[in-house]
Structures are given as structure tokens and as C-alpha cells.
Amino acid sequence: MTNTPKNSSTPNSSPTMTSTPNSSSTNWDAMKHQFMQIWQVLAALVLIYMVFFILSPPFRNIDTLLSIFGQASILAILACGTTVVLISGGLDLSVGSIFAVVGVVVGIALAEYELPVYAAVLIGLAVGTLLGAFNGIVQVVTGVPAFIVTLGGLTAYKGFAEILASGRDLSRFPDSFKVLGSGYLMPMIIMFGAALIIGLFLTKTRLGNHTFAIGGNEEVARLSGVKIAKSRIYYYMIGGLMAATAAILEVSKLNFAMPARGQSYELFAIAAVVIGGTSLFGGRGGVGKTIIGMLIMQTINVGLAYMGVGTSVQRIAIGAIIILAVYWDVSRRRSR
């Protein structure tokens, strides 16, 4: 049996019947529907911010707001890549370790080989993209599920980063490099830039549109002539590229590189994507939601910290919110 949609506006209407005769108004409906989805998450963000605003006097500060954005931005860039992978029905647990490898590679390029900044950045981006491609290629060639392949990547890339970094002092980078990640403004600009580019990619391009089709129903997409394997590899490359971008910003911000960085970032990224409202089951979502999802997470972290709540409790709060977000996604799917 095919799905019998339970949409109340079109109950069992025949092929030659229409729910709304006016086409221009329906375009608005579709757009309104889109906005409604993002508004819900945005409203949640504002609400959470307001709660802390009321509860905690030191929270009522523009610097606090900026630091939320600052903390969110680097992880949000990484999460933009994760968004693409999750919409396509994939999963990437290795981006935190790709982050570590790229950080170390860029550190070596700058501190040891004293390469120009642009060269180090390009090498870093290339390494991240290649590791992402490797994730995708292994999956489509072997047929091993994404969870396992990228779980392998999670530990293997981490080991790789440790080997590269051992016995090296990766710090004290040129000033022109430090500009990238220091302060709030630059990371924020790069975050919005990355979100804009990925957003345009997802909504305007053929490969981007195929993420939704593949994540929605891979078999239909395949039978329709969509090149699944090739597309998937590209999506993991974007995941790797975004992890690399985030890593470069963090190395610049901290002014040192070490393989322990990036730990659990893949989970923060997935959490932000899911809290934002992108479906964990593929086929739906967007980067705007992910940015808001990351801001929600950081607002809770910062807000709880201001209220004197320890990081352990913060973790519990975030965990509960992740489960709530997925519950919302699941119950929405069930109601269809």
C-alpha cells in the first residue's frame, strides 16, 4: 500500500480535483509553511533566552549575547556540513576527528613549515574534504552502513591526528592567521557565510535538491535516475570541508593545535541539527534551523553557567533536549 496521507485539506480528492484553485496563493502557503517550521524553533530560542534573561541578572548583557554567538559559530559551521549529510539520510560521526586532523595539519603547515597562511588554510580544507570523501567512498563501495564507517573514522582519524602531532609544538602562529578566528565578529561572519552558501546549495542546485530526494526515499531517487553513490560522496565531502573550516577557525582562535580538540564535536553538531528540526531520518531540514539549534544549545550552556549550574548538569539538560527534539520529529512522522 502506498502512503495514504491524512492531510485534512485534501481528503480523498480525485486526480481532477483541487484543494486550492488559486496557484499564487498556494505558493504563499508553501512559503508560509516553511516559515512556520523555522519560526517554531526561533520562538523556542527566544523563549529560552528570555527565561535566562529574567532569572539571571548578569545574563542581561550584550557581551553575553555576543559570547553565545561566538561559542556557537565554530560548532555551527561544522554542523552545517552535518545538516547536509543528515538530510541525505546519512550520518557522520567522524567530523570531530576530521576536525582534529585538520587542526594538526594546519598547525604543522604554519609552525613547522612556515607556509603562507592561505596555503595552510587551503591544505587544511583539502585534507578535510578528502577525509570526508573517504568516508563516502568506503560506504558506497563496501555497503557498510554510515554509522559503522564513520565510527571507524572517528577513532582512526583521531589516531592519525595523534601520530601527526606527536613530538611537535604546534603553537605561535603568524598574526595574519590569528585574525581568522579571534573575536566574535570574524567567526560569526564566516558562520553566516557558510550557512548562506550551504543553504543556497541545498535549495537552488541539482545536487543540493537531491539530498532531500535521497534522504526521503533513496529507492525512488535511484529509479528516477539520481546517481546515489556519487551524490553521497559529495555530501560527505561537504561534511569534511565544513569540519575543516571549523577546525581552522578554532586553531586560529586558540593559537595552538592539538589532537584532543574536536572531541565530541560530531555529537554537538548532530544535536544542533536535530534540535533545529532537521529530520534524523532524512529528507527534511535546512541550515537555518541548524544555526538556531546551535544557538539554543549555547544559550542553555551559557545561561546555566551564569546561574552557577555546573557543566555536568548542563550536559544532562542538553541530553534531555536532544531526546525531546527527536521525540518531536518521531511523533510528527507518526501523525502522517
Binding site: N3, T26, N209, V220
Partner: protein, 264 residues
């Protein structure tokens, strides 16, 4: 039978011939040496009990599954069809049962899935930026031509009824299936009224220059909408008949194997 077959072959042009199609899964013969001939402009019904090999036959012809053996001739010439894309390239469009539309994307995007129109400029050629305006216009024109009144083409496919979804899926065959439409149980999930609508749409495919292969369980549809019928049983072809020469009871007999003496 041989003589009859030859006479038929000479009478109308064969647009598609599949010869000796077999599909084995290990020791199981899901399809065993089945021949299929589709004439230009006809609606050919494929009937058979569950597990007779109808869907397997269609998938083997369109390259959705690999064949164990068999050749395919299109317009009398042998063609290589190893994937759904190959089938589309020669002009065969297939509506698979339950696998016609992606729920999560809009009607327009479903219509053009895998064959999107990119902008006719550098953005389109280099980055694959899509021309939604053109695709929307073509979708509207297509629906108008086929009298499908779906206005909200921006909406996700899942918002539509089974009949509307089937209409959208069938319309793809007109837009892209330049020659042949293959339909796997186009009314399987539909109510009576929606079935009638869908079958009228199937009948109109002829007017748009398509020859049709249709898998069905509905003998009424065979009698009312089809020109010829082929019967499969347990992976084998047991009969090919002109619809005007058979009645529903005979067909059911052929499908179940009750009247073996009449098998051609």
C-alpha cells in the same frame, strides 16, 4: 500459435521486444525464458497471480534489476538496458508500484527528479543551479494537457491523495516517456472512483503517442482498457491473447492454471 504470432508481427510494428528474459535468484527461477512483444500504440496487460513474476519482468526490462539472460530490441534493434537511466534514454518511462514519488519533496521536484532543468547560464552549467520557473511552467502545462487539476505544485507530495499522486506519477510518462510507458499496478492503492480516473488517464496515454505495458490484477481493467494481455504463471509465460478473444473467466483460468488445455 507460431503462425499466428508471425502474422501478428507482420500486421503491426513492434516497438519493444524482450526475448528470453530470465531472472534467477540462486536456484529459484523468478522468471524463466519469458518473451514480451509490445506493438506500437497498444496497451498490453500483464496479468498473473502473486509471485508470477510480473514486477520482476518489468524490472528486468527496465534495468531496475539485473537480468540473468535475455535481450531487448527497441524498434527492431538490440539495445543495452542495464539501468533505469538506460531505459529512460531510449524512451521507456516506468511507474513503479509504491515507488513513484518522494513524499518529502514538491510535486514539481518529483516530476523532474533525476532530470532537472538547470538555468541556461553559467550558474546552471557550472553549479547546476535549477530553473524552477521553467520546471513549474512545464509542470502546469503538463497537468493542463492531461486535465490534472493540481494547483499547489510547490507542496510536498505527501500532502496529496493516492489518486492525485498516481496522476502525478502517470503524467511523468507523458513528459519523459517519449515512446513507452510501463505501469506497475497503477490502481493498486486506489479507491473505485480514483481507479476510474487513473485508468482514464492511462487510456489517454495512447493519444500522447505512448505504447503502454500495464501490470494489473483487475480483469475489468484488462477487458475495458487493454488491447492484448499476456499471462504469467510461476515465472513462465503461459498465454498471449487479444483481449477481444478472451473473457474474464478464461483469463482467471489461465492465471490459476485451471484450464491448462487452453494454454496457447
Amino acid at each position: 500459435m507460431e503462425k499466428n504470432e508471425i502474422k501478428h508481427l507482420q500486421k503491426a510494428k513492434n516497438i519493444l521486444e524482450a526475448r528470453g528474459i530470465s531472472k534467477h535468484y540462486g536456484g529459484i527461477k523468478a522468471l524463466d525464458d519469458v518473451d514480451l512483444v509490445l506493438r506500437d500504440g497498444e496497451v498490453l496487460a500483464v496479468v498473473g497471480d502473486n509471485g508470477a513474476g510480473k514486477s520482476t519482468l518489468v524490472k528486468a526490462i527496465t534495468g531496475a534489476i539485473s537480468r540473468t539472460s535475455g535481450t531487448i530490441l527497441f524498434d527492431g534493434e538490440e539495445v543495452r538496458i542495464d539501468s533505469p537511466t538506460d531505459a529512460k534514454a531510449v524512451g521507456i518511462e516506468t511507474v513503479y508500484q509504491d515507488l513513484a514519488l518522494v513524499n518529502e519533496i514538491s510535486i514539481t521536484k518529483n516530476i523532474f527528479l533525476g532530470r532537472e532543468i538547470v538555468k541556461d547560464n553559467i550558474l546552471g552549467r557550472v553549479f547546476g543551479v535549477l530553473d524552477f520557473k521553467k520546471m513549474d511552467t512545464e509542470t502546469r502545462d503538463l497537468f493542463k494537457k492531461l486535465d490534472i487539476r493540481i494547483a499547489d505544485i510547490y507542496r510536498d507530495a505527501q500532502a496529496f491523495s493516492g489518486g492525485q499522486r498516481q496522476a502525478v506519477a502517470l503524467s511523468k510518462t507523458v513528459l519523459f516517456g517519449k515512446r513507452i510507458a510501463i505501469l506497475d499496478e497503477p490502481t493498486a492503492a486506489l479507491g473505485v472512483r480514483e481507479s476510474k480516473m487513473a485508468m482514464d488517464l492511462v487510456a489517454s496515454l495512447k493519444d500522447h503517442g505512448l505504447s503502454v505495458i500495464m501490470i494489473t490484477h483487475n480483469m475489468q481493467h484488462v477487458m475495458n482498457y487493454c488491447d492484448r494481455v499476456m499471462v504469467l504463471r510461476l515465472g513462465r509465460l503461459v498465454a498471449v491473447r487479444d483481449v477481444k478473444d478472451v473473457d474474464g473467466d478464461t483469463l482467471v483460468g489461465l492465471i490459476t492454471g485451471a484450464n491448462k488445455s487452453k494454454v496457447a
